[in-house]
């Protein structure tokens, strides 16, 4: 085939230029470490890179959310632990006071401490986080949730809670409303609550008892009434007699699984009621303890009344402790769920980074081998060109 001098020269130069541009591309891949710089380098890969980068960025946000959630839950747990300890101390004080040997002066001294503990509990319930939000205000975060409203404490928050996204599929609640924690404490045993009537004239002391058979329990109001000093009748809400028996001091009386005991000597006509537990707020319980401790029972009947009352309050405190523990357990389970979500997220991060690197980054071994091959071919093109271009018949004329 005939070859023109110009095309030989142009062809040689074009080959060298092409080799150089390939070499420059490989070199830029090695220098930047990236295989895909524009969408055209690998359209499918570019979209995957976008997705992985988005997932990684989302994970960063989930990590930040988890940190906030973890600090909120820890704060709540600390508050619940403090409240639990406080209730434990008050329970101890109540047991101490519920002893016939303790005189009025000592009871009043105990009342002073209980009063200050009640204020302390109010402060715990009104705790704020670092951002100034009330921990137990539900979603009404800016309003102080608990305040004295006359004699009682009222809740100004709401029942709402927040869900915090911690992964693409999981959202964890970041707290409990103050209503649930401090106001809606189950009353009595949880299913029923026994009280002595204030009009009792005997010295019968009520032990508020326990639920022995929840399945048998029919919620309703029942009255244990002493028709004589030595026998009782159990009346239902419509005053129909549903049970009766002789009174034995300290002997148990069971109504549909609800078991109470009355010790001492009740008088004829004395009444003890069994009602559904309902809810008691913890501040009201503390207030009732203070007023019980500050009362000065003059008669044996009033002393028995006080003892029944304190028995009920002790039961309510143990219920409160259980309730706070339950809430704490809930917080604990959320924290442990958060831990496992965090561990999963960290694994996912690692995996996503590996994927991203596979998609986007240069494989140095391949790239450097390619560059060496390209350099050899460029060098060969240059050398052969100079040799061939130097040949001319004119040299021999």
């Amino acid at each position: 085939m005939r070859v023109s001098t110009l095309s030989m020269q142009q062809g040689g130069v074009a080959n060298m230029l092409r080799s150089q541009s390939e070499l420059a591309r490989t070199q830029s891949q090695i220098a930047t470490g990236k295989r895909v710089v524009t969408a055209a380098d690998d359209p499918g890969g570019a979209v995957q890179i976008q997705q992985v980068e988005r997932a990684l960025a989302a994970n960063q946000q989930y990590a930040a959310n988890s940190a906030v959630l973890s600090s909120r839950l820890s704060l709540e747990e600390q508050a619940l632990a403090d409240a639990g300890n406080l209730i434990g101390r008050v329970q101890e004080l109540t047991l101490q006071a519920n002893n016939g040997a303790v005189d009025l002066g000592s009871r009043r001294a105990i009342a002073v401490e209980v009063r200050s503990r009640a204020e302390e509990l109010l402060a715990i319930a009104n705790r704020q986080d670092a951002g100034g939000d009330y921990v137990f205000a539900g979603t009404r975060a800016a309003a102080k949730p608990f305040g004295r409203n006359g004699a009682s404490v009222a809740y100004a928050g709401d029942a709402g809670t927040r869900l915090v996204p911690v992964s693409t599929s999981q959202r964890i609640e970041d707290g409990h409303s103050g209503d649930d924690v401090f106001m809606n404490v189950p009353g009595g045993t949880g299913s029923f609550r026994a009280t002595a009537a204030t009009t009792n004239t005997g010295t019968g002391i009520l032990d508020p008892g326990s639920m022995t058979n929840l399945a048998a329990w029919v919620p309703g109001n029942y009255t244990v009434q002493f028709d004589t000093a030595s026998s009782y009748q159990v009346l239902d809400a419509s005053n129909a007699v549903i049970a009766a028996g002789p009174h034995v001091s300290g002997g148990s009386i069971t109504v549909f699984g609800a078991q109470i005991a009355i010790s001492g000597a009740p008088a004829t006509g004395d009444q003890f009621t069994i009602a559904p537990g309902g809810f008691r707020d913890v501040f009201a319980t503390l207030d009732s303890l203070v007023s019980a401790l500050e009362s000065s029972p003059g008669t044996a009947a009033a002393r028995a009344q006080l003892a029944s009352n304190l028995n009920g309050i002790i039961q309510q405190f143990s219920q409160t402790s259980d309730h706070l523990l339950n809430v704490r357990a809930d917080v604990g389970s959320r924290l442990s769920r958060l831990d496992s979500v965090t561990a999963t997220r960290e694994d996912l991060d690692l995996q996503l980074n590996t994927t991203l690197s596979t998609l986007r980054d240069v494989d140095y071994a391949t790239a450097i081998t390619k560059m060496n091959a390209q350099m050899v071919s460029l060098q060969a093109a240059q050398q052969s060109y100079t040799r061939i271009a130097g040949l001319s018949l004119f040299d021999y004329l």
Partner: protein
């Protein structure tokens, strides 16, 4: 004697031509020339025909028309692909640039929404959300701005390409004239003028696809598009840019010849001009419209959710993002006065295409401009019953005349109006307007969901409502009526929806109350985080991020194809040029050999004259 002289003259011409070849060995487009020799007519004598020497019959260019046509056609293909790929690469770069890119900005916005969901009372988190919304808006504006700049630059390049084409065309027309004149006087081809004309046609084919048709008298006629004459004989038509009949901005190509101006935009193919036009219609305009569609989807997702929430001040949220409207332009030549007011109604129906509506006398017909497919229109065009199709609705005003056309661009200008409307961070509606709750004293086990907003415009939305169970299967609303209760069945009232599940006891109460003081509520932000990634585009099969992914990959694929085609075509082009060059180009070794050959022949012819001279002398000496 005269034979020898003829040899001397002929070889002198041959040596001249060889030296002309050597001198032009490096001239681009130079075609080597050969002296063609022919024997002179012999003289007849009684004893036979005696030769009279040699004549130069012509000096011929060594050219193969097939190779020339091949290199031109591949030259115009490479011109198109090279321009197309270079422009497409610029668009492609706008779509992948890591966390700073649009995809990264969208994710940051999503993250900021979750940040507010996590800390709804934090002004700092809300400020971040506004900042990231600004970031998305800035990123969209940047990409749209770059695409607009590319559009402007493309228009300028089209203008300069037509200028170059006109200069080349008039050069070719002038050379046609000179070549005819050159042939006319001597009958011999003016080789160097032919080279010059070929060079101009080569350049022209890089700018625009041409077909070249030879005519008697050495004339070459050049046609573009579908056989429109750019150069005919000695006259060149003028290629120009004209404004679009719709918006007056887009550039159209017209050819003004003896027949008047002719719009040839759709028939231009190949060359840099074809590449520019293809780039504009296949990459640039679809990218802008599709990006507008994404922005419309995003704004719809964010705004519709934001309207359902309440802000820190207890007010219902309005729109968080603004977005440009849909554009419609009646064709400048319409006889009637009809205008269309276009609004986008649902992002899920939007296609990213532009449309042309034509009044057919009784009704309007609609056509997609990217596929050319007809679109079925619903409605009559009145305010009460607007024309509806593909996520847009159109209200006709004025009076159309049969044949009137209107261009509708539902999303092209959307990004121009994209922005963040809220500047006060406390105005971000993170909370839900209602809070549903169960009374603590309820003795049944029924629970109520937190409630969601169906219609934020309902004036009763935030009125307090108490649902009280009269029996385990009926309830009253605010103490009135008796409604049947089914566990889990949604209860829709006052523009909200909540559902009660379980077995309520008689007297159990559930309340739905105004949530405007619940500043720590994050339900609306959680819903917004979901709304952004909800599948609301393409008829509900893709989300904003996946649609962005598809746009990125579409542009990547087009660019990659253009690059691959360009690289493949470059090899074909190099080959075609090399073949043509190898046939027509000068080989110096060959010329050196010719030099020797002609030199020797010249010397021999000179010897002939010397011998003739000696013979004559011998004769003279003999006679003396």
């Amino acid at each position: 004697m005269s034979s020898g002289l003829s040899g001397l003259l002929a070889f002198q011409r041959a040596l001249d031509t060889t030296s002309h070849n050597i001198a032009n060995a490096s001239t681009e487009g130079y075609v080597r020339q050969r002296v063609e020799l022919g024997t002179r007519p012999a003289s007849q004598y009684s004893n036979g025909w005696i030769g009279n020497g040699v004549d130069v019959t012509t000096v011929r260019r060594q050219v193969d028309d097939f190779l020339v046509a091949q290199s031109r056609s591949s030259g115009s293909t490479i011109g198109r692909l090279d321009t197309f790929a270079a422009q497409a690469e610029r668009v492609s770069k706008l779509f992948v640039d890591g966390p700073a890119g649009l995809s990264g900005s969208l994710q940051k916005l999503q993250n900021a929404i979750q940040g507010v969901a996590t800390e709804p009372t934090s002004i700092a988190a809300r400020q971040v959300l506004l900042g990231e919304a600004d970031g998305v808006s800035a990123r969209l504006a940047y990409i749209d701005g770059q695409l607009r700049d590319l559009d402007t630059a493309t228009a300028a390049q089209v203008g300069s390409a037509t200028g170059q084409i006109n200069a080349l065309a008039s050069g070719i027309a002038r050379l046609n004239k000179e070549i005819t004149a050159g042939i006319g006087s001597s009958g011999q081809p003016p080789n160097d003028l032919l080279d010059e004309r070929d060079r101009l046609i080569d350049q022209l084919s890089g700018k625009i696809g041409v077909s070249v048709v030879p005519q008697n008298g050495g004339i070459l006629n050049v046609f573009v598009g579908r056989g429109q004459a750019l150069v005919l004989n000695e006259r060149a038509s003028v290629l120009g840019t004209t404004t679009d009949p719709y918006d007056g901005s887009a550039t159209r190509i017209s050819l003004t010849g003896s027949q008047g101006a002719l719009d040839i935009t759709s028939s231009v193919s190949g060359g840099a001009l074809g590449g520019l036009l293809d780039f504009r219609s296949q990459v640039l305009e679809p990218a802008r419209s599709d990006l507008g569609r994404l922005a419309a989807g995003l704004a719809e997702a964010v705004n519709s959710q934001h309207r359902e929430g309440v802000d820190l001040k207890g007010a219902l949220g309005g729109d968080l993002l603004s977005i440009g409207g849909a554009a419609s332009t009646p064709r400048g030549t319409n006889a009637g006065s009809a205008l269309l007011a276009v609004t986008r109604t649902a992002a899920s129906g939007l296609t990213g295409s532009d449309y042309e509506l034509e009044f057919t006398g009784a009704a309007w017909s609609m056509k997609r401009l990217d596929t050319g497919a007809a679109v079925t229109l619903a409605g009559t065009g009145t305010v009460a019953d607007p024309l509806r199709a593909d996520g847009i609705s159109m209200v006709v005003s004025g009076t159309p005349v049969t044949g009137d056309r209107v261009l509708v661009r539902p999303t092209r200008e959307a990004i121009a109006g994209f922005g963040v409307l809220v500047s006060d961070p406390s105005r971000i509606a993170a909370a839900a307007p209602i809070v549903a709750s169960a009374a603590a004293a309820n003795s049944g086990n029924a629970t109520i969901t937190k409630g969601e907003v169906l219609d934020p415009a309902n004036v009763q939305l935030r009125s307090n409502v108490a649902l009280q169970f009269l029996t385990p299967t009926t309830y009253s609303v605010n103490g009135a009526g008796s409604f049947a209760y089914t566990s889990g069945q949604p209860i829709d009232l006052n523009g909200w929806r909540a559902s009660i599940t379980g077995t309520p006891a008689v007297g159990d109460r559930f309340t739905v109350a105004d949530g405007s003081t619940a500043t720590g509520d994050n339900r609306n932000m959680l819903a917004m985080a979901d709304a952004i990634v909800a599948q609301r585009l393409d008829g509900g099969i893709s989300s904003v991020p996946t649609a962005l992914g598809r746009l990125t990959s579409d542009i990547g694929v087009v660019t990659q194809q253009a690059q691959v085609n360009r690289d493949a075509q470059q090899i074909l082009q190099d080959d075609a040029v090399a073949q043509r060059q190898n046939f027509s180009g000068v080989n110096l070794d060959e010329e050196a050999a010719n030099l020797l050959k002609y030199q020797q022949a010249y010397q021999a012819a000179a010897q002939m004259i010397r011998i003739a001279n000696e013979m004559f002398q011998t004769l003279l000496d003999a006679a003396r």
